[in-house]
């Protein structure tokens, strides 16, 4: 199945109560497949075909507050249209799970993959996971319900899958039995909900005397997430045999130089790194699964002996010194005191292929810096016409 189908299948197995969604390429297959499940009576889900993404997430917030397990999916402009509702979902602590089939933002219009949609909303207070392939998209979607609905967290989660590269590419996906998933995800047990027997006010006006405390509580919830995610990862591994954590390290133990990235480009990076290893070059790949909360300490540990790293951003932060991911890596360096030289590569925008030769160039550059060459250009475009 392709990545979108894998995500739809996960949502089906998680027995979501309500789906409210709006079509947008390259996410559409998710809602199409889910519609099939509904139409064929394979799920007992209320599926709301809303008139916009803004209403999609708004309806999800309503359903989640009423106590339901909720799922939706979007991409690109759809995520941008949801922008203000994203903050609502996290601020009201609704554990919604949303798949984002990452796609470039207009203008110019482009339906293909990069990360500018999610990066444009990175501070929205959601836990953000990036999958590398359809299997990971399936696995993380299942885990996302457990993470989001945990009472210590109670935050929405996005599972990001690269548009087309993952969403539309056919791959073998090992799926779990319905009963296994059912036992794993359990039933949602909301702490608070819209309940006529226990009237509560949700979404009150918090003025300067209280607003900061609400935001502080969201920060605390984000801090509570890593141990919950770790325990969900452990439980998932026992069931599936597939191991997850904040990040995935490839040949990092003795690497002098590395590439750090998120999403499907990690596969290409590992293949190139393996080839370079055959030539005796000590290179590795660090792939982040968990972008928010940002695993500062774990990244620093993985990079502690690495001399130079090229950070791949698939989105531009216009006017900023780095792309969003590299900015966070730079902050991690400052906070932890690691000595790794950092440079930033922007590539793969609007679906432009990130070819093995591009990645090889990044490794070669990282090796030069590892050998002592100074970083002359902190942010470079790769695979772009001059």
């Amino acid at each position: 199945m392709n990545g979108d189908e894998a995500v739809a299948f996960a949502a089906k197995q998680a027995q979501v109560d309500v789906v409210a969604a709006y079509p947008i390429t390259p996410q559409t297959i998710i809602v199409e497949r889910f519609s099939d499940y509904v139409a064929n009576g394979e799920v007992d889900t209320q599926y709301i075909c809303v008139e916009s993404e803004h209403s999609a997430l708004s309806a999800c917030v309503g359903s989640s507050l009423a106590g339901s397990r909720v799922f939706t999916a979007t991409s690109s402009q759809g995520l941008a249209l949801m922008h203000e509702v994203l903050y609502l979902a996290s601020g009201l602590r609704t554990p919604i799970v949303m798949a984002v089939a990452n796609r470039a933002l207009s203008a110019p219009i482009n339906i293909h993959n990069d990360h500018s949609d999610m990066m444009g909303s990175r501070d929205c207070g959601w836990i953000q996971i990036y999958a590398e392939n359809a299997q990971e998209a399936y696995d993380w979607t299942l885990q996302a319900f457990r993470i989001a609905e945990d009472h210590k967290v109670s935050l929405p989660v996005t599972v990001n899958l690269d548009g087309f590269t993952i969403s539309h590419a056919m791959e073998g996906v090992a799926v779990l039995e319905d009963s296994e998933v059912s036992d794993f995800v359990g039933k949602r047990d909301p702490t608070y909900k819209l309940d006529t027997t226990k009237p509560m006010t949700f979404g009150a006006l918090a003025l300067p005397d209280y607003y900061s405390e609400f935001k502080r509580q969201q920060v605390e919830a984000m801090k509570n997430a890593p141990p919950v995610i770790a325990s969900v990862n452990d439980e998932f591994e026992r069931m599936s045999g597939r191991q997850y954590s904040e990040l995935s390290a490839f040949n990092m133990e003795d690497a002098d130089a590395a590439v750090l990235c998120m999403g499907s480009v990690a596969g290409t990076a590992r293949a190139v790194a393996a080839e370079l290893r055959k030539q005796g070059k000590r290179v590795g790949v660090l792939k982040l699964w968990q972008y928010r909360p940002f695993p500062t300490r774990e990244i620093a540990e993985a990079l502690s002996k690495v001399k130079s790293i090229g950070v791949v951003d698939r989105a531009v932060s216009f006017g900023a010194p780095y792309g969003a991911l590299c900015s966070d890596i730079a902050a991690a360096k400052v906070l932890t005191g690691i000595q790794t030289k950092i440079f930033n590569i922007i590539c793969g925008l609007g679906g432009r292929d990130v070819r093995p030769a591009d990645i090889e160039g990044i490794f070669e550059r990282a090796l030069r810096h590892a050998d002592g060459a100074p970083i002359d250009d902190s942010l470079t475009f790769v695979g772009v016409r001059p």
């Binding site: 209320q46 709301i48 708004s58 009423a66 009237p199 209280y210």
Partner: protein, 315 residues
């Protein structure tokens, strides 16, 4: 029609809110909650009613209540309704959505349209005070022609709003809703009866209720109900119901009160009563007349002339 004795003595929209003295929407909220006969969940759009009733850590609501955004109220109500349906509680709870005229006529019209089309079982109540009062009296799609607001001021060249009021009920009826009605807070038993009819419908229902704002309309705070009554008696705001597409007048006005009696106590129309802008006053009168004729005809009534054009320029 309901009688006072039939109403609950319980207050679900409790005292202690911080709405203004003489606030029409506050009276609307209190009456609505008294009208409901089942346990209710309230969804409230951003606006005066929301900000002045739930200033954390206080709340005036004794029912489950939620505010999220300005324009998505009908969508949030959709989600709540779907969740309750999934829980098998669909028929046991009334879902009531409140939006002001800005949150309904303008920014929330898309979400409302979607929710009506999808036939969610909820009641949408638009409390109309004819401008964005919460942000300081800016013009909305519900502001009448000629009214001065802070974005359509009574200038020396352009005297107030240059466009007419939207036909909200017409828009809702075009979606095929089973029940839609206008109401005024001055006629409490008519309003409460309509709320009960609306909530009894399986599917979406819409009530458009006129709720004057003393601050925005610029009149004495003791005159709110009087103005809400005059709006109906002058045919400025006809009361009617639409059941399955069939229009029916709720209140006949065989001898309509002259429009001036509604307009003159209000500062927002004061500028129309100078000779220079008499044409604008006549245009407002023409629009009121034309809307009344249209509604009367839809209701199968013979329209009665609203009020004769004033024979002498008003002061």
């Amino acid at each position: 029609m309901v009688t006072l004795k039939e109403l609950s003595t319980q207050e679900f929209f409790g005292p202690g809110h911080r709405m203004c003295t003489g606030c029409g929407p506050a009276a609307m909220a209190r009456m609505t909650m008294k009208a409901l006969q089942k346990p209710a969940i309230v969804v409230n759009a951003t606006g005066c009613l929301e900000v002045a009733s739930t200033i954390y850590p206080d709340t005036a609501w004794k029912v489950p209540w939620v505010h999220t955004l300005f324009e998505n109220t009908a969508a949030v109500a959709s989600g709540i309704e779907a969740s309750l349906r999934k829980q098998g509680k669909g028929d046991t709870v009334d879902i009531v959505a409140f939006g002001g005229d800005g949150g309904t006529f303008d920014i929330g019209i898309q979400a409302l349209s979607g929710a009506l089309e999808r036939r969610h079982d909820f009641t949408y109540i638009c409390y109309d005070n004819e401008a964005y009062m919460n942000t300081g009296i800016q013009r909305s799609g519900a502001t009448p022609y000629g009214a001065a607001t802070t974005t359509t001021p009574a200038g020396s060249k352009i005297p107030g709003k240059t466009d007419a009021k939207k036909d909200l009920i017409g828009i809702c009826v075009a979606h095929g809703v089973e029940y839609a009605a206008t109401a005024s807070i001055a006629f409490w038993n008519d309003y409460i009866t309509k709320v009960r009819r609306a909530t009894a419908i399986k599917g979406p229902a819409v009530i458009h209720v006129l709720a004057p704002c003393p601050l925005g309309w610029r009149f004495e705070t003791s005159e709110t109900i009087k103005l809400a009554k005059l709006a109906v008696q002058t045919n400025y705001f006809p009361l009617y119901e639409v059941e399955n597409g069939k229009y029916k007048l709720s209140m006949k006005t065989p001898k309509p009160t002259p429009l001036e009696e509604f307009l003159k106590p209000q500062g927002r129309f004061r500028h129309l009563f100078v000779p220079e802008f008499s044409k604008n006053l006549e245009e407002l009168r023409r629009q009121v007349e034309s809307n009344w004729s249209r509604i009367a005809q839809l209701c199968g009534e013979t329209p009665v002339q609203t009020s004769p054009p004033s024979s002498q320029p008003a002061r």
